[in-house]
Amino acid sequence: MSKQYYSLVFIVAACLLLSLLYCPPVDIPGGDKEVFRYGGLTIIKGAVPYRDFFDHKPPLIFFLNTTAFVFGEWGFWLIDFGLVLLATLAFFRLCQRFRLPYPWLLPLLFNLMLRDFLLEVGMGMTREYTVIFGMLFFCVTMGRLRYKYFLMGLLAGLTFFMQQEQSLALVPFLIYALLTDLQIPLIRRIIQLGLGFLVIALPLLLYFALHHSLEYLWKDAFLFNFQWYTAQKKSMPDHFRTIKEMLDRINYEVPFMIAVTLGTASLLLKHKKKGLLIAALIGVSLSLSQEFMGRRAENHAFEHYFMPLSASICILLFVVFAFTEEAALLDRRVRPIYGFLLCGSLGYTALQHGTHLKLVKDDSDISSPVYGYLREHTIGDYQLFLMGDSYFIHAFNEKRILSPSPWIYQHFWKWYPKWDPDQALLKGIGEDILKHRTTYIVVDDADVARFINPANSGWWFAFLRDHYNPISIAGPPTSISLWKIKDIP
């Protein structure tokens, strides 16, 4: 077997092993992922995202999550692994084509960053997929495929309808491709791009049009983000502090520092493709755009916002190493040094995580007495509602039941002072609950207590006491309480 095949086997094995760190038995449920999974469940049950449940993500993630109910958890894992493997192999081929001395190094870094345990989200986040699409987009941009621009448009569409702002990071490469590839007329390239984009956009728009939900899609997945999600600002130094703190915490500091230092240094040193280098540097900045769009990341729960760096940093390093003409960076011996530096810390973290895996059944939420109670009882559609703790959404997905209210995602009451000032939304939730005579309500008391407007939490607790009785369940003290509708034995 040639050396190149060994490299290929190595990188495929690394990709598989790192993906196995998040295979179903050990992929701990997380708030956002459970919401996406619930979105998939609503589609499977004939309901429509946005109209029948609220989220402000674009729709592709919900359609992707339908596969978990069609093919099972392992099927979903296989799709995820397959996508990462595709991006890894495409990147590996690119590194081979441009004769990088260790073509497996950057794809390995890509996998280590993407599967970094300290991001604490496992598999299934929207940005994981946009990272994959971003990497594929770059490989296509650098390739000589027949349908190059069509594919670029297709991948841009996938990115846009998976996580809106991540399409920004594709723009520098799109501009680079349009400016440098002069063999095909510009108009034709734009048409091809547009066609690729429409292949994704049209079926989605058609789906929502047929379900009379286009307005919901527009309002929730797009307008909402401008009106609320990006409206809270923080100062530029605060953004930098957050970035520094997050890079430290998620173990991205060394790759980030090396990539940006080498990228910037290459601008000043001899380099064959400075245009592409500038695009890659801008790509890194734009992959952080979500941090600059609001002030969510300051509360230490948004590490996954930095996941797109796993593609943009690897792309920048590729551009540096593939096209540099600087002796100091061309030296074969320099690469292993940077290789150790780039992968050392992340490799250690992956190893540590791999040797200390936690089973889903041992998760504190899943193994809690309240969850155990819900498992023991048969609960049908609309007979369970959750207030506060989004981790319990896992119960909907496990039991394959729908919530009585579209509002399963309730962080906004904690984030925005002007959210639901007259309790109209809460009253809507109450009406839905009473209409369906929902049997159980799980409440995270601590979470509800964090509602910014005390009138909101006050209304909710009053509603709860009026119509529900708490169920006493033996177990250690916790902020999670279970309530049962009055008059039901």
């Binding site: 520092m257 240094a265 040193l269 011996r333 050392g344």
Partner: protein
């Protein structure tokens, strides 16, 4: 002015500016229990007392003498001056060395040293023992590569200073000693080199020993500063090797040492493998890096619950010298183009200094005043004591070395030598027969000590019988001083006043 002089000016200015981050005064140099102990014992010496005999600590004595000297020089500013001058001396010597070995940017590594030793996340301000041993280590290395007349004597002298400031730190000098004593390193006979080194060491050791002999405290010195560490400090609370590694990673991450450690060690290992004009010294410096953090592996000072937090960060401060030395060896002796050249070293320079510089600037412009012992300095107990001005032996602190600050502010000493009582919360078998606790009670009773700041609770003591003895003594002889807003303050301290003493 020549370019080289500009570089010297730049690096000395940087050293002073970074030292200025920790000027005396509230909100600048953080208050920390260990430093308060050192200052307190300096105060004991000034009052005619003797370390170990009149105040317990398990550090070697030089740090107490240094604090005594600082008191003579005017207190906090005196210490700042000594500290800054030592940093300047180490920086200047290292800069000269880098220049001598024609490093393209001779200011780069001295700057790294200063950034690391003043790293806000790690150093706990100025005045920790390992800060001084780091400076001494760097000076030692400069002497090692220098051509001084009293080369070996100076090396011995510096090792003596290190040993009597922080014992374990002498270990990281060992690889350099081994290198210095290699036959090919010098034409001076081995025994002569050894004798000169020993003479240097004795120049520190003898006066120190003589001092304790003259004060009939040699036994106390031996038991507390040495035997104690071997019998208690390094043998109890063991953590697994994996836990030590995890702690190491955590502190490197949190303390901003990660990039520089990773870059230095990777380059150091590569420099050993690649062509090198002084492989032995590079190997010695790699060994010194490992040995400079050996205290982490010598025991488990952290309670298991604190293993995941940032604590004992100052144990990693010696990396500021050992990593700078390692990088010096890489840049000065490697013959590999991948590690040489101005452009390569600019890139490494940015990598190693960028994050630390950002932190220094951020710290300079955004001082976290609340984290600097504000709760101690501004607590109601302190205001009360300021109003009542306790004299010598009229105040005792139990359960927190942070509150020794009170002694140092009032420039008084306490009634008991046991000022450092963490061992009740650390070790299961500490003071099994309660002899120490009874001696504290006796000292407080004989001096009719008016005030006690008690920071303990039943859960603080590992041995519940010790808690009962202490608590019953307090209840019997003292009454709590209550403050109306007590529950609004963050301090755990309770001030007690001797019964029968009028307000």
């Amino acid at each position: 002015m020549k370019k080289e002089n500009w570089s010297l000016l730049f690096i000395l200015s940087a050293s002073v500016l970074l030292s200025l981050l920790y000027i005396p005064g509230f909100g600048h140099n953080p208050l920390s229990g260990d430093k308060e102990v050192y200052r307190y014992i300096g105060q004991v010496i000034r009052n005619g007392g003797v370390p170990y005999r009149d105040a317990f600590d398990h550090k070697p004595p030089l740090i107490f003498f240094l604090n005594y000297a600082a008191l003579l020089l005017g207190g906090d500013w005196g210490q700042w001056l000594i500290d800054t001058c030592l940093a300047l001396l180490a920086t200047g010597a290292f800069f000269q060395l880098c220049r001598k070995y024609k490093l393209p940017y001779p200011w780069l590594l001295p700057l790294l040293f200063n950034l690391m030793i003043r790293d806000f996340y790690m150093c706990l301000g100025m005045g920790m023992t390992r800060e001084y041993t780091s400076m001494l280590l760097l000076i030692f290395f400069c002497v090692l590569l220098g051509k001084y007349r009293y080369h070996y004597f100076l090396m011995g002298l510096l090792s003596g200073l290190v040993f009597f400031t922080q014992q374990d730190q002498v270990l990281c000098l060992v690889p350099f000693f081994l290198y210095a004593f290699l036959p090919e390193q010098d034409t001076v006979p081995f025994l002569t080199r050894l004798a000169r080194t020993a003479a240097g060491f004795l120049a520190i050791a003898l006066p120190v020993i003589l001092y304790f002999v003259l004060h009939n405290a040699l036994k106390d010195f031996w038991q507390d500063a040495f035997l104690f560490n071997l019998t208690w400090y390094t043998t109890t609370l063991k953590a697994s090797f994996g836990d030590h590694l995890r702690k190491l990673k955590l502190i490197m991450d949190g303390g901003n040492y990660e990039v520089v450690s990773l870059v230095s060690v990777v380059l150091g290992v590569c420099a050993v493998i690649f062509p090198n004009t002084n492989r032995k010294l590079t190997l010695a410096s790699l060994a010194a890096v490992v040995l400079s953090i050996i205290p982490e592996f010598m025991g488990g000072r952290d309670l298991p619950t604190r293993m995941t937090g940032m604590s004992f960060t100052h144990y990693f401060l010696p990396l500021s010298a050992s990593l700078s030395i390692l990088l010096f060896c890489v840049f000065a002796f490697s013959a590999e183009p991948a590690l040489q050249g101005r452009r390569v070293q600019v890139i490494y320079g940015i990598l190693i200094c960028c994050s630390l510089s950002y932190t220094a600037i951020r710290f300079a412009t955004h001082r976290p005043l609340d984290g600097y012992g504000r709760d101690i300095v501004t607590c109601q107990e302190m205001y009360y004591l300021r109003a009542h001005k306790p004299k010598d032996d009229q105040l005792f602190v139990f359960g927190s070395t942070d509150y020794l600050y009170a002694f140092n502010e009032f420039r008084i000493t306490g009634p008991s030598k046991w000022i450092y009582q963490h061992f009740y919360t650390l070790y299961d078998h500490w003071d099994n027969d309660h002899a120490i606790l009874y001696s504290i009670r006796a000292d407080l009773s004989s001096h009719k000590t008016t005030y006690v700041i008690d920071c303990t609770s039943s859960s603080w003591f590992r041995d519940t019988s010790a808690y009962k003895i202490w608590n019953s003594f307090l209840l019997e002889h003292y009454q709590p001083v209550n403050f109306p807003d007590k529950d609004k303050t963050d301090t755990l301290a309770q001030l007690w006043k001797l019964k029968g003493i009028p307000d």
